[in-house]
């Protein structure tokens, strides 16, 4: 009886039951090209064409800088989120972690701390917050969606406690150092890219290499596809997930520092409500919410699409509510079309779980 685990990130189907397992025939070259990412490229090109035709200022190089400012810190948070979703979990506390680390940085700065220790402590807060998430999910085995809603509230509360109603720096405080706050004002010298864009690209390359070209990345895919089998195959599932949460915590704390630097200030509601934006970007990038499927290039394309659409629509002075409808509609279309295709192929309960289930992992 064949019980082959589908190879991670490949598009080939598992062999039919009862057939002898055999090597999958090499897919034709255009088969690899026609994946989710190709659709995203088409949508991105459409968005760019749309932007340049409807807005006279879209093609000016500074648009890229602005897009980096507006979307950069959100995009950075999307990268660890991708890895976490690939392993079948989720982290809804990302935006609150950003807020809390920013608030801690502001609070310490207000009390006269020098900038480097303050930033390090803010990053340490990210490590602790991520470790909390990781412990609750791996050690206690709690469902990640519920846990991270809890830590979302907890971190948001932490930010409020640290800052209250103040905006740091107060009139009596020193302003943040200029070398830090310039990232919100000048691009990287020689380019039109904002510092956050460059950081995002570097992080994306790192995450992409890890996810797609290392055993650790394959372990993440395996964990998402078949956690039990992965465990039996020797993958330290709990350890991988724990460190992914810590990674997410530290990256989000870093994003909080970036946002503070960009704005030259921080207040208690920084990053409020952005967690669902991050999830939407990741899902639009082709990452399956069940885990086990998705690519970093897809998420990068998704970031580009969202960023350029937002720039284009704002420059055209379209109602910001229309922007929300467009993003939601894009997300919906992007999952419904393949879903309908899948529905046409679905032949009944043959071991596939009904795809409307939230997750197949039930940890009892």
């Amino acid at each position: 009886m064949s019980s082959e685990i589908a190879p991670p990130a490949a598009d080939t189907q598992a062999p039919e039951r009862g057939q002898p397992p055999e090597a999958a025939p090499r897919p034709p070259w255009w088969h690899t090209a026609l994946r989710w990412e190709t659709g995203l490229v088409v949508v991105l090109i459409a968005a760019l064409l749309f932007g340049s035709s409807e807005s006279a200022t879209f093609t000016s190089p500074i648009t890229l800088f602005y897009a980096g400012i507006n979307v950069g810190y959100i995009a950075i948070m999307a990268l660890p989120m991708t890895l976490i979703v690939v392993t079948g979990e989720i982290d809804l506390s990302v935006a609150s972690m950003l807020g809390m680390s920013g608030a801690l940085l502001g609070n310490l700065w207000h009390h006269g701390w020098p900038i480097w220790p303050a930033m390090l402590l803010a990053l340490a807060a990210g490590v602790l917050g991520g470790a909390l998430n990781g412990l609750l999910v791996t050690r206690l085995g709690l469902p990640s969606i519920a846990v991270t809603i809890g830590t979302l509230t907890l971190f948001r509360g932490g930010a409020e406690i640290l800052l209250g109603s103040q905006t740091i720096p107060l009139a009596s405080d020193r302003p943040f150092p200029a070398w830090l706050t310039k990232i919100g004002v000048v691009p990287v010298s020689g380019t039109e890219l904002s510092y956050t864009t460059v950081i995002f690209i570097v992080l994306a390359i790192a995450c992409g290499v890890v996810l797609h070209a290392t055993p650790l990345g394959r372990a993440m895919f395996a964990t998402g596809l078949q956690p039990e089998a992965a465990r039996f195959a020797g993958i330290r599932v709990a350890r991988v997930k724990f460190w992914l949460y810590v990674f997410s915590g530290i990256v989000c704390a870093f994003a909080g520092i970036l946002l503070t630097a960009q704005n030259s200030s921080v207040s208690y509601n920084a990053g409020f409500g952005l967690e669902l934006n991050v999830v939407a970007i990741v899902l639009l990038g082709g990452v399956s919410i069940f885990g086990g499927r998705g690519t970093i290039p897809g998420v990068v394309l998704s970031v580009a699409i969202v960023g350029s659409l937002q720039m284009a629509l704002t420059q055209m002075n379209i109602d910001p509510n229309v922007q929300q409808i467009v993003i939601g509609g894009l997300l919906l279309i992007s999952v419904v079309i393949p879903g309908l295709g899948r529905a046409a192929r679905w032949r009944g309960p043959s071991g596939h779980k009904p795809p409307w289930a939230l997750s197949k992992r039930h940890r009892l």
Partner: protein, 347 residues
């Protein structure tokens, strides 16, 4: 663990019942502690506020429970509430529709959105988290576009409609009574009708449910329609309660509702939990918020305490579930031992 076993084994049933009772006990404990600190907390007016403040989230929690029990999630409830609240308010001020039709329209509109969610989830086989997240954005955008600077004002809402928001009967707010009736009705349906119990089956083990002949697609669809309809009703009640609607109505409610539902004992992966528990969870969270205000704690601590409480509730639920599972295994083990020891007896 199927619904059948859960409800027929007396020991397990008592443990499960204890979960809702536990939440109720916590509500009373917090209430007592706050009253000790500040006697006015037990005032009629204060208790009315406790009930009213929890009503909307509890109502949304009922619908959310149905969806979560089937191992799905509905993130669009907050936006649907806002859309229905504004639509009804707008119809009141421009079309002067009768008061009762306000409720009907709100429920119908909410049910329509729920139907879209349900259709896409079941027919197009899309994960509900993604569908309802997308609908959250779309509905929010549509709602804000409709509002567009002309918010609904109290003078534009018929006083008979707004009366539902603040009138009381024997000291109990109408709002709380309406929600309590809905909770009781849905709880009864979940328990006594086969379609209700099938929801638990779908959430416990979808493949087994389908193989056992449960029409999963239809049941999940109805769960989403109900969730949307109740969100719509919540919108009408929102309009009655606040008599004012702008485009921020309902924003952010979805995570609060899920938090309340989880605190109330509904397992996020489906298969267990009751609407009574969800309503009690909403009441507990609201009581704690109001208690914190009553004991004069700085409002900036509220969020942090709520978050800590949520984590504690999730951990407690997990512990409870482990105990139940252990109890099941022990029971089965004992059973097996018996049948081995006495080969002639039936197991």
């Amino acid at each position: 663990m199927t619904a059948r076993t859960a409800l027929t084994s007396p020991r397990l049933a008592s443990i499960l019942r204890a979960r809702e009772a536990g939440t109720a006990v916590l509500v009373l404990v917090v209430f007592a502690a706050a009253t000790l600190k500040d006697h006015n907390f037990a005032d009629a007016g204060s208790v009315q506020q406790l009930l009213t403040g929890a009503s909307l989230i509890a109502l949304l929690g009922v619908g959310e429970t149905l969806v979560i029990v089937t191992r799905n999630v509905d993130l669009s409830v907050g936006s649907v509430l806002g859309l229905c609240a504004f639509t009804v308010g707008d119809l009141f001020r421009h079309q002067h529709i009768p008061v009762w039709s306000g409720f009907v329209i709100a429920v119908a509109l909410g049910a329509a959105v729920g139907a879209i969610n349900g259709l896409i989830t079941t027919v197009a086989r899309v994960p509900s988290l993604v569908v309802t997240l997308a609908m959250l954005y779309i509905v929010r955008g549509v709602d804000a576009k409709l509002v567009s600077g002309s918010i609904v004002l109290p003078s534009q809402v018929p006083s008979a409609f707004a009366a539902v928001g603040y009138r009381t009967i024997l000291g109990i707010p109408w709002l709380a009574i309406i929600v309590a009736v809905v909770v009781a009705a849905v709880a009864y349906a979940m328990r006594s009708f086969r379609s209700g119990r099938e929801l638990y089956a779908i959430g416990s083990n979808p493949e087994a449910a389908t193989l056992a002949g449960v029409p999963s697609g239809r049941r999940v669809f109805m769960a989403f329609v109900t969730s949307g309809a109740l969100a719509g009703l919540g919108g009408a009640l929102f309009l009655a309660l606040f008599a004012q609607v702008d485009n921020s109505a309902g924003i952010g409610y979805e995570l609060n509702v899920i938090a309340a539902v989880v605190v109330g004992g509904v397992a996020i992966f489906g298969g267990s939990g009751t609407v009574v528990g969800a309503a009690l969870g909403a009441l507990l969270l609201n009581t704690i918020q109001q208690a914190l205000v009553a004991v004069r704690s700085s409002s900036f601590w509220n969020e942090a305490i709520a978050g800590a409480l949520l984590l504690a509730a999730i951990a407690f639920d997990r512990w409870l579930a482990l105990r139940v599972a252990r109890g099941l295994r022990t029971a089965q083990g004992a059973h097996r031992d018996l049948s081995v020891a006495a080969p002639g007896s039936s197991s």
